[in-house]
């Protein structure tokens, strides 16, 4: 770890602090939040849905493949699919996918505004540019990514169930019995806590990378790459940290 880590971490904290001003116009601010919620939430729904359905289906098939003992009930597959989806696959895989889709989009959008002087134009007008550009994205991400997480969990379990039914691995009753057997409210709470944390990481890190882009089109691409890489690494790090703290 070299000094540049501390430099960027400090700059990142100052960037977050710089957003905390009263918005110039509340109605414009709320409209921007809803626009971003639409982009992040609705815009990401197809990729989240496809990813989740297949993750659930693959988990069912692979768990069945590993269950070689006839002494273990097939309903265990339902338990494993629902628990692993809620605890890990739902929030973590969804957010890793979103760090690519949402993170790269945020970073390239803000980065492009930086290199084309649009951020300078906002500042010259007397607008708090980080508050106007990044804060609505962060709030929208914190609201919508947990919602996407719930959808991802639901679809993943459904995908697992469908794969079990269609391939004849287990029956409807076996899957439902297994899925309900070990359900705890805390698991869902923990999953949502992860989704909130990862949402903040994706949106804030990507905004930071975009906001401090220097140069031209090439550097916008580099900022997007950094946004995805740093967000993904931080998601994995906080995934472990939260598991250590709460489980």
């Amino acid at each position: 770890m070299n000094l540049s880590f501390f430099y960027h971490f400090g700059k990142y904290l100052m960037f977050l602090r710089s957003m905390l001003y009263k918005p110039e116009k509340w109605n414009v601010f709320f409209k921007r939040i809803f626009d971003e919620m639409n982009k992040i939430g609705i815009g990401s729904l197809p990729i989240v849905a496809i990813t989740s359905l297949f993750i659930g289906a693959v988990t069912t098939v692979q768990t069945a493949y590993q269950l070689v003992s006839g002494l273990i009930s097939k309903s265990v597959i339902g338990t494993i699919v629902s628990d692993s989806t809620m605890l890990e696959l739902g929030p973590t895989i969804t957010c890793l996918v979103l760090s690519g889709k949402v993170g790269a989009h945020i970073s390239s959008e803000i980065g492009n505004m930086r290199i084309s002087e649009q951020i300078d134009a906002l500042e010259v007008m007397g607008i708090n540019a980080p508050g106007y550009l990044a804060l609505p994205k962060i709030i929208a991400g914190i609201v919508m990514i947990p919602v996407l997480n719930v959808i991802a969990i639901t679809l993943s379990i459904y995908g697992g169930y469908m794969a079990g039914e269609l391939s004849g691995i287990l029956t409807h009753e076996q899957f439902i019995t297994g899925a309900r057997a070990t359900f705890k409210g805390f698991t869902l709470f923990f999953s949502m806590l992860k989704a909130f944390t990862f949402a903040f990481i994706i949106t804030s890190v990507s905004s930071y990378q975009g906001y401090f882009t220097k140069g031209g089109a090439l550097e916008v691409g580099e900022s997007s790459t950094k946004a995805v890489v740093y967000s993904s690494v931080l998601i994995l790090f906080f995934d472990y940290l939260l598991a250590e703290l709460f489980l």
Partner: protein
């Protein structure tokens, strides 16, 4: 009036502005000329608050920009319009929304009043029927005019034009110059233009400042320029390197 006193600015170890003292007058086109890398853009960025000098003062009608807090600075900035070199129009917004943007953010106008103001500003820069187009759908000259329309949407006191003619053909350049001149005189704005274009200087420059290697080398009016040219070799070289003498 804008007044700079003993302004110094460095980037890391490299000093780019040396003890700048200058005055920019209301109702006049104050043109800053000089070669690329001479400190013109940095000086303009310092004036609008995009860069902060290490020392000196920058007073907008006796309000020192460097001693104001963030909120006060924003208040002054609302009196500033800026035409950027690359126009800096928001590419996700239509032309109408671009011009309406400062009105939406800082005025208490109703939607109908804002629309009327947008149409007035567009007519003022001789543009019509492009309200619903996006910046990517119009020409460079039109973008510059939209940039001017956005800059004057609010009742500004100070207008900054960074290379207003860059990338434009000579005819469009003259139209933009004429438009900037008209607006400056009509509204009594303190207008500061960064330019390489000597035609701009001779056509509309009322007060001229020549920058050389980060320092102010000469300041005066258009009538004195020819005389100064004989005494200052750097200025003479700069003017002679232009397309006409």
């Amino acid at each position: 009036m804008i007044e700079l006193s003993h302004v110094n600015k460095s980037f890391e170890d490299k000093q780019v502005l040396y003890d700048i003292n200058a005055q920019f007058f209301s109702g006049k086109n104050n043109v800053i000329i000089g070669a690329s890398g001479g400190g013109k853009s940095v000086m303009m960025k310092c004036m609008v608050g995009l860069e902060r000098p290490e020392s000196g003062s920058i007073e907008f009608d006796k309000r020192d920009m460097l001693s104001l807090d963030e909120q006060q600075l924003r208040e002054v900035r609302r009196e500033i319009g800026m035409l950027f070199q690359g126009t800096a129009l928001f590419d996700s917004l239509t032309i109408e929304e671009n011009i309406e943007f400062p009105l939406k953010m800082f005025s208490k106008m109703t939607a109908a009043e804002r629309r009327a103001r947008v149409n007035f500003c567009l007519q003022r820069v001789n543009l019509e029927n492009i309200n619903k187009k996006f910046p990517s759908e119009i020409s460079g000259g039109m973008k510059k005019r939209v940039g001017i329309a956005r800059a004057i949407a609010l009742d500004i006191k100070y207008l900054f034009c960074d290379e207003p003619n860059s990338g434009l053909d000579p005819i469009t350049s003259r139209l933009i110059d004429a438009l900037i001149d008209e607006i400056t005189k009509e509204y009594g704005i303190t207008n500061i233009i960064n330019s390489h274009d000597m035609k701009t200087v001779f056509d509309i420059g009322d007060h001229i400042l020549f920058m050389y290697k980060g320092a102010k080398r000469w300041e005066g009016n258009r009538a004195d320029l020819k005389h100064a040219q004989k005494e200052i070799p750097e200025l003479d070289n700069f003017i002679k390197a232009s397309y006409f003498d």
